[in-house]
Amino acid sequence: MNAEVRPVIKPATASVGTLAAMLAVFSRDVRVAFRQRQDLLNPLLFFIMVVTLFPLGVSPEVAFLKQSGAGILWVAALLSVLLSLDHLFRHDFDDGTLEQLILQPQPLFLLILAKTAAHWVLTGLPLVLLAPVLGVMVHLDGNSIAILCLTLLIGTPVLSLVGAIGAALTLGLRSAGVLLSLLIIPLYIPVLIFGTGTVAAAAEGAPVAGYVALMGAFLMLAVTLAPFAAAAALRISLSNS
């Protein structure tokens, strides 16, 4: 009757499926991040602070904030993603996990995709969730806030994916933070333009489906191409050290 009992522990030689490996990388990154909660909170605080600077530095008038609120939120989100990118590979690089990752039989670009997904869940997604509150603070109306969150939801994964290339290229370099920004900001420009442009179009009552579809196209392009570039960059950086 007990013929169906399976061994509890799989033999060590059994190879893990690609999807399982991706899931393992993803859940490991999330777990590690939750053990250092302050690191999770910092980009969010930065996001709020940068948004606060604009009414203080430029003008607290409702008309100004209404007009430029979406742009301010987008720029702040972009900067805080940029700031968090340094963490994407840094710790794994320092303790050697990254080398083990490269040695895995699974394709490296898929593992990087999983890592980037974890990065987005830990930084991009909280920004999207926080955006409505800040949207109210800069006097955006309800519809604009909804569109803004939609564009952030589609746009922040692109930021994480493209940023992963920069993070991989600057891994292990001195003053990597500034260099990373120099490399990546020009590549972020299209996402920023379409992110804010969509909200501006919605505010004028124009249909936004086309713009949203274009942002979706950016996302697809980034999902399919960026992990390859990041994997190539990672191999170069690790052969370097």
Partner: protein
């Protein structure tokens, strides 16, 4: 054909060829550029709308044109670096990146100088100006990355990856900047639209573009030779060359 390809990978071979071609490049480049600029600045007819101020076109357009094509050349060399690991491709990218940066800056600068009398302002957030500015950032990023990595081979390959990512992005950036421009800026300023340039204008323009191309070729050879000497300083042929030069 493959033999040529393999030869191209040899820095020594290139050094010899470049030394032979450089005087010709320099002479032809200077001649064409001088002809184009003298003709353009001195003898081409006035523009009926802009008067004499349009004449900066004979400097502005060549710099902008070549600044853009240098990025494409660098990206093509980047493919060679990544696929065939050819030493000379690395040298090429490293040598011409600063040239591209300077030419991009010059085209922005001459554009600003041209903009003042034509549009009444030094800078307009126009689609073309903005995308040139972004090109300047891309050059700056590539150079900064190259300088930051100590190991030559890794630096060349990292820059190659960055250049390829950049070249995929350039059309997207160009398109989105144009779209942004039409969205945010109703046509307050427009380039005065000329009804097809007469030959007396475009021939000198073509001459100066070709001349600057040849001069760029000369400068690229010069910079590549210097870079080769630095990289190959421990080889025998460089030592012999330097000793012969001294003796």
């Amino acid at each position: 054909m493959w033999q040529f390809f393999h030869k191209l990978g040899s820095p020594k071979w290139f050094f010899g060829i470049a030394t032979r071609f450089m005087p010709w490049l320099l002479a032809a480049g200077l001649l064409l550029l001088a002809a184009g600029i003298v003709w353009g600045l001195g003898f081409a007819p006035k523009d009926y709308l802009q008067g004499n101020s349009y004449r900066i076109i004979f400097i502005h357009v060549p710099t902008a044109f070549i600044a853009q094509s240098i990025y494409i050349m660098m990206a093509s060399a980047a493919v060679v670096t990544l696929v065939w690991r050819m030493k000379l491709a690395d040298v090429f990218v490293k040598a011409i990146a600063p040239v591209g940066l300077v030419l991009t800056f010059l085209s922005l600068f001459t554009g600003a100088v041209w903009g003042k009398p034509t549009w009444g302002t030094w800078w307009v957030w126009d689609a073309r100006l903005t995308s040139m500015l972004i090109l300047l950032f891309l050059y700056g990023g590539a150079i900064a990355l190259d300088r930051a990595i100590a190991d030559e081979k890794s630096a060349a390959r990292a820059v190659a990856v960055l250049l390829l990512v950049g070249v995929v992005n350039i059309p997207i950036i160009q398109y989105s900047v144009e779209w942004w421009n039409t969205l945010h800026q109703p046509s307050t300023f427009k380039l005065t639209e000329k009804p097809s340039m007469p030959a007396e204008m475009w021939v000198p323009l073509l001459l100066s573009v070709l001349g600057l191309y040849l001069l760029f070729g000369w400068l690229a050879c010069l910079r590549m030779k210097t870079e080769i000497l630095i990289r190959e300083q421990k080889t025998r042929w460089v030592k012999e060359l330097v000793l012969a030069g001294r003796g």
